[in-house]
Amino acid sequence: MTKLELMLAGFGGQGILFAGKLVAYAGLIEDKHVSWLPSYGPEMRGGTCNCSVCVSDEQIGSPQMLTPNALIAMNQPSLEKFIGHVQPGGIVLVDSSIIPTKVDRTDLKVFYVPATEIAEKNGLKGMANILLTGKLLKETGFASVENAKAAVSKVVPPKKANLIDSNLKALQLGLDY
């Protein structure tokens, strides 16, 4: 994939922005053009939260991914809001532990990943976002696995360095799914 146009969306608190940052950092380490744009405002409290990330070989114009070629949806309203805008042939990752419905478009590559459940079973509560990022990496190859892992240690703040290993574990679970 020469250009990843990613929309991540879910509830505030699921780590949507953090997962986006991980993707962006992996792109940065790959020395690609990168943009990361969060939604901001009152919608972040309890409501939906989303984040546009672009990783590209070329200069990035608009950082808003209005018609993404990849979507990570971590709650029902987000899936409903964005599914219609995904480019034909695009990749959609659905956290099926949270979203019970199926996607009715047939022109997309949809993966249903019970990410929240898998994360919890593995003692990685709250890391479904990273697991899904691992799956995205597997399906799109937006960066090398090595660089994505390097990005984990970049985005986890120094104060929480003890969480690097569990993030790496979550990433690997996604890569293996």
């Binding site: 940052k21 962006a24 950092y25 940065l28 053009h33 990168v34 943009s35 990361w36 744009l37 969060p38 901001y40 405002g41 200069q59 990035i60 114009g61 608009s62 950082p63 808003q64 209005l66």
Partner: protein, 351 residues
């Protein structure tokens, strides 16, 4: 080594690296990260971060620090900038250099908190009361958010006037990889500054009050001679795919990025269109527009407002070609597809 930073944080870090040690602010969405970053970092470099009791107070603290010859700044978003305007006018009237950052949000009043370029008129036409101008730069990327901070300080000091970094919520909130500048900032001599005479020189006066009209007129004329120099020397714009262009989109800041995407798509369709991206908004990059007149059959101004910069564009084009406007407002960022549609219209002789 590139780092990934939010626009608000990048500009704050750049200000510290540019030698700014005095930041006075008041929180407002979507620029609060500037103040948060300064609150954390300023104490580490021996600087002053101060959250004032209001925007008006903050800008007057800038006046004080600037009077002492220090690199000082404040940042806010649209409604907060309106509050600062009195202070900005006093800074202009006292010929004081400083940096004011406006991370714009939408519409008059409290408006909205989403991105906008609705303060173009305010920044370029009437930053405060009286005959006044400030040096205004419009970054389009996070790299420019950082780079232009130092340019703004330098130009402010060179010409003894306030400067403004005119950004918006999109640029403030988004992250891109940037390279931060290393090395010592250029400092200029400030013989006018209030640093204490030590009984060795006559005392300096920083003042904007002149009761005597002839004296005041003389000061205004001198200031406008400086403005003329700035208009002559400091215009900046980026020309993108303009060499063979028959149509031109003219834009700035965040909307110029959207325009650039649209220009690329239009080129794919065979439309000979280019982009003039204004980098300085005051002085308006007239020379760059002027150079394209005769070549361009139709101009399209693209902004995130109801149509402001388009008026300056029309003044320069002066009837030599049609000038149309496309914008989204209220906090909506136009999509490249919308701008592309407008480019198609002008290329078919319409609009």
């Amino acid at each position: 080594m590139k780092v990934l930073m939010k626009g608000n944080e990048a500009l704050a870090e750049a200000a510290i690296r540019a030698g700014c040690r005095h930041f006075f602010g008041y929180p407002i969405t979507p620029q609060t990260e500037v103040a948060a970053y300064m609150a954390k970092q300023m104490p580490k470099v021996g600087g002053t971060y101060l959250q004032a009791e209001s925007e008006i107070s903050a800008i007057n603290m800038v006046y004080g620090a600037a009077s002492a010859g220090k690199r000082a700044m404040t940042s806010s978003s649209s409604p907060g900038i309106s509050l600062k305007q009195e202070g900005i006018s006093y800074l202009v009237g006292s010929d004081l250099p400083c940096l004011i950052v406006n991370v714009q949000r939408a519409a008059p009043g409290l408006g909205g908190i989403q991105p906008s370029q609705g303060d173009y008129f305010q920044a370029t036409k009437a930053p405060g009361h009286g005959d006044s101008h400030i040096f205004v730069m419009a970054p389009s990327s996070i790299q420019e958010m950082a780079d232009f901070v130092e340019t703004c300080f330098e130009k402010a000091e060179e010409y003894r006037m306030p400067s403004m970094l005119l950004a918006d919520g999109m640029l403030g909130q988004m992250m891109e990889p940037i390279e931060l500048k290393e090395g010592e900032p250029k400092e200029v001599e400030k013989p006018w500054a209030l640093t204490g005479t030590k009984m060795q020189r006559p005392h300096n006066v920083i003042n904007s009050l002149y009761i005597d009209p002839p004296e005041l007129e003389r000061i205004l004329i001198e200031r406008y001679e400086r403005y003329a120099k700035i208009e002559e020397n400091e215009q900046r714009a980026e020309l993108y795919k303009m060499d063979d262009a028959e149509y031109a989109v003219v834009s700035y800041g965040a909307s110029a990025r959207i325009a650039m995407s649209a220009v690329d798509k239009a080129r794919d369709e065979g439309i000979k269109v280019g982009l003039i991206r204004c980098i300085t908004l005051w002085p308006y990059p007239k020379k760059f527009i002027e150079a394209s007149a005769g070549q361009i059959k139709h101009y399209l101004a693209v902004e995130m407002n109801m149509g402001q910069m388009v008026e300056d564009l029309r003044l320069v084009v002066n009837g030599r070609a049609p000038v149309d406007f496309f914008g989204r407002a209220g906090g909506i960022i136009p999509s490249p597809a919308e701008v592309l549609e407008e480019i198609r219209k002008i290329s078919k002789g319409g609009k």
